[in-house]
């Protein structure tokens, strides 16, 4: 069996096993879910190792007829960018399972339902990155909303139902716009004699489209991705969803699902509509810069720790989008690496925040204080995660943020310069909560908090290890990403601007 299909089937097998476990055997349910996700992670790592760096075509390819009447295929394959994101997803899922060991028990339904939803989501996360058929991509893109919706609404906290609905409606609206564009592509492709959804074939479609048509189709895709990513001003669902979801769900939501948006911009917007992408670039770069600053400002003002993380993510997605639409190799590589790193630094932040909230029974930042003395390991974990989020050199995010800024500067110096302020603001929005929650005297209510237990340490340790390791040595990932980034750039006729020498006189 194809490795990608195999990794998608595995979680489904896990669910099939879960069905036969009685509801009362909670521990067994969790163990099966954990084992399944670890197996999937192993397959993901194996794929990464056996990925051929020299080959720029899609790898691990599988293609079967699905609905031949519409030229729809079950077609999978990965390039470096997709592979990295799949790797990130399959690594994060077991972490989420471990970290959320107890989250699943306070929900509306049994842990069995919780883990079934997580597992089905994992299948779809792999599918959405691995699809090389536009229709198949759309199916995963939309279908994955359903498990997330139930994860937020059924297991979250506070106004969880409202947040779940807001999330779903925003996403569905974007998705339906994209459906209109997909129908447009389908009809155009049929008209020009190629009834197919194959991404490689369709990447030539733009040569026959009128500019007007290309722009409209582009917008359908882009708005859907901008809602997903989320880009200002389409971001308002994210803070609510992130606040109401369990920390584990938030990790998957911000860490993986939102990446589908930025991944889609590369894979679909740029590949299918290169001319439209170019004409909309000034607008998109502007929106990205606004997102960077807006997210950062809101993060500084945030009182709730989960909302804070959500706002920082809006800022980070601004960086990623800017890197993508700078349309330089460095910007691309940086953006892809950024997606990977953001997945882990956000995961770390959310997980530690989750540990803190469980202990203090509050998610308000001002309720914490002086954790450094009481719970040193938890405090240090939060500190490192925060430093990664503000892109401290030596931690993984620094490399990617630097690449994005360099990549953007070569083409849009002004945007890059303004975006750099985002880094300054990042220092503020991380250091303020660090100072309030971790340092200073221990405030009342925090004296008896317990430090991380073994399970929590096991969950957070690999994430922090990855953050630190990639900060010092990002080249294994870059080796996978760079060829793919260069291919996307060259295929669609984008060129890197030549470096200019400023000759001194």
């Amino acid at each position: 069996m194809n490795l990608l299909t195999f990794s998608m089937v595995l979680p489904l097998v896990g669910i099939a096993v879960l069905v036969f476990i009685p509801k009362s055997k909670v521990l067994l349910t969790k163990q099966i879910a954990l084992i399944t996700t670890l197996l999937v992670a192993a397959v993901g790592i194996y794929m990464t190792i056996s990925f051929d760096l020299g080959d720029t075509a899609f790898q691990f390819v599988e293609s079967r007829e699905w609905i031949p009447a519409f030229g729809i295929k079950y077609a999978l394959g990965v390039d470096g960018i997709a592979l990295i994101l799949i790797l990130m997803s399959v690594l994060l899922t077991p972490v989420v399972v471990i970290a959320g060991w107890n989250e699943s028990e306070d929900g509306r339904w049994s842990p069995k339902v919780f883990y079934s939803l997580i597992l089905v989501l994992e299948t779809m996360m792999i599918g959405v990155f691995a699809s090389t058929d536009v229709f198949l991509f759309y199916v995963f893109f939309e279908a994955m909303l359903v498990p997330v919706y139930f994860l937020i609404g059924g297991f979250g906290s506070g106004e969880r139902a409202a947040a779940a609905v807001k999330f779903l409606l925003y996403s569905l609206f974007g998705g339906l716009l994209m459906l209109a564009s997909i129908i447009g592509i389908f009809v155009m492709a049929t008209r020009y004699g190629n009834r197919t959804f194959d991404i490689t074939t369709l990447s030539g479609l733009h040569t026959v489209l009128t500019p007007m048509m290309e722009n409209i189709l582009f917008l359908g895709f882009f708005i859907a991705f901008a809602i997903k990513a989320p880009l200002w001003p389409l971001h308002t669902w994210l803070p609510d969803a992130a606040k109401s979801a369990t920390p584990g769900t938030s990790v998957l939501l911000l860490g993986v699902l939102d990446k589908v948006g930025t991944f889609g911009m590369i894979r679909y917007c740029l590949t299918l509509f290169p001319n439209a992408s170019k004409s909309f670039t000034p607008l998109i770069i502007t929106l990205a810069v606004i997102s960077i600053l807006y997210g950062a400002f809101l993060a500084i003002g945030a009182k709730d720790i989960k909302r804070l993380i959500a706002y920082t993510s809006i800022s980070h997605f601004g960086f990623i989008t800017m890197g993508i639409f700078a349309m330089t190799t460095q910007g691309f590589s940086g953006a892809t690496l950024y997606m990977f790193n953001h997945g882990f630094s956000t995961a770390a932040l959310f997980l530690v925040a989750g540990f803190m909230i469980v202990r203090r029974k509050s998610s308000t930042i001002s309720d914490f204080g002086g954790l450094q003395r009481v719970t040193p390991i938890m405090a240090w974990s939060f500190f490192i995660a925060g430093m990664s989020s503000l892109a401290l050199p030596g931690l993984s995010s620094f490399v990617s943020e630097f690449l994005v800024l360099v990549g953007t500067f070569t083409r849009y110096p002004v945007a890059a310069v303004i975006a750099t302020f985002g880094i300054v603001l990042a220092a503020l929005y991380i250091l303020i909560p660090v100072q309030r929650a971790l340092h200073g005297p221990t405030t009342p209510g925090n004296e008896n908090l317990t430090d991380l237990n073994l399970r929590e340490k096991i969950a957070i340790a690999p994430v922090i290890a990855i953050i630190v390791a990639l900060g010092f040595y990002p080249s294994p990932l870059l080796k996978i990403i760079n060829p793919a980034a260069a291919t996307v750039i060259s295929q669609q006729g984008f060129t890197d601007p030549a470096p200019t020498l400023n000759e001194g006189k």
Binding site: P68, F70, A143, F150, G153, V165, L176, L179, A180, T190
Partner: protein, 506 residues
Amino acid sequence: MINFYSPTLEYSLLAPILIVLGGALIGVLIEAFAPAASRTRSQLFITLTSLVLSLAALIKVRNEGSASAAMESVTFDGAGVLLQASILVLAIISVFLLADQENFTALAAALPGSEQERDSLRQDLKVTEIYPLTLFAVAGMMLFPVATDLITLFVALEVLSLPLYILAGLSRRRRLMSQESALKYFLLGAFSSAFFLMGIAYLYGYSSSVSLSGIHAAVVGGSGNDIYLLLGIAFLSVGLLFKVGAVPFHAWTPDVYQGAPTAVTAFMAAATKVAAFGAMLRIFYVCFAEAYWQWRPALIAIALVTMAFGSLVAIAQKDVKRMLAYSSIAHAGFLLAGVISLNKSGLDATIFYLFVYGVATVGAFAIVTLVRDSAGEVTDLNRWSGLGKRSPWVATAFAGFLLAFAGIPLTSGFIGKFAIFSAAYESGSTAILITGVLASAIAAFFYIRVIVLMFFKDPIEDGTTVVIPSLFTQVAITISTVITFALGIYPTPLINFIQSTAQFIR
């Protein structure tokens, strides 16, 4: 002197319809002569048997290739056979619901609240007339999409409508409302029939023919007076649009859906749509295709308004049956998109959509019959809250149907929506595509609201319960669920079959 010919009837081709009619007649005889105690069982047996036999006969007809029968007043072509098969399948699933006699009044003739009514309830009488009535309606529905002259078409329209008017008034509870809805349905239906006849008259005046091929010849020949053609098409369309519940001829839909016994609503909502859209497809594709400039703009406008109106008004509904009624109006708009595309993909897509929508509709109404309190079905949406906690499987199945209505991937509704919108866009109608997509987004809102209600709200303790479904209802729900998801995940066999089979012969 006028020569009269004795009509020739191709019995083997007409067998599917004749079997259903025969079953209905046997049913009438049973009503007349069999002892009351044994009626329910024998009626159910006769009904199911004749429907299944009819389906078998239909499959045989298909293998014999297409042909016209009964002096060219009926045509069995690929599309016709597919539509008939859809109607039969939907009817079979619906009969499982009808079999649950709890939904029907004990004695239809008794005045609500009268001594006679209490008497009939005490004696535990059953209205077993529903079975032959249903069979008559099915026979009319099967004739409707294959009729190729306007007189046969009209007869079929009446044969399918009259039993439905009666069935709508047979609810066991809230009988006044049920009877009111039946009367409303009847009166408005009579109006629309009159329009329909008027249209036939104009078309006869235009082409001096009542057969679709004759009118088609006149349209192509272009010798007639176009005013009559226009009037004829307009009046004929009013009759058809009334049956499918398109705006502005939708006014009966919510009341009748709400008032009729839910099992009847399920049958009516699913099967009538197939029959009426089937006839519409045939008339517009076969007869008026060349005169598309006469009707297409108007029909596009109606489609747009229907989609938008149905989705918007559904938001405000507090009753689950009314909500499904408005959602059916929105879906009528989506289906019109298939009619106006006027190409092969539009035909295929509409047939596919009709079938999958019908199945999901029967399934959804089947679940409505399960949610009850001591006074009967509970259709107030607020009292559905927390259903997911009470009976997770029923709520999950209902959520599945709602997701299919909303067109979420991996359900049959998504494939249908994709097919029908791409057909409409292929025919050049961008407005339909955009409005359709936006209406779907609005529609998603109220479907999701129900899901929120069922899963994320706590149950209210007011005696609302989910009854254990009878075996029949279980079968109906299971079949609908399986079809809805199977066709969402792997629709290829059905799509290929429709694509290779569906065509009209003139």
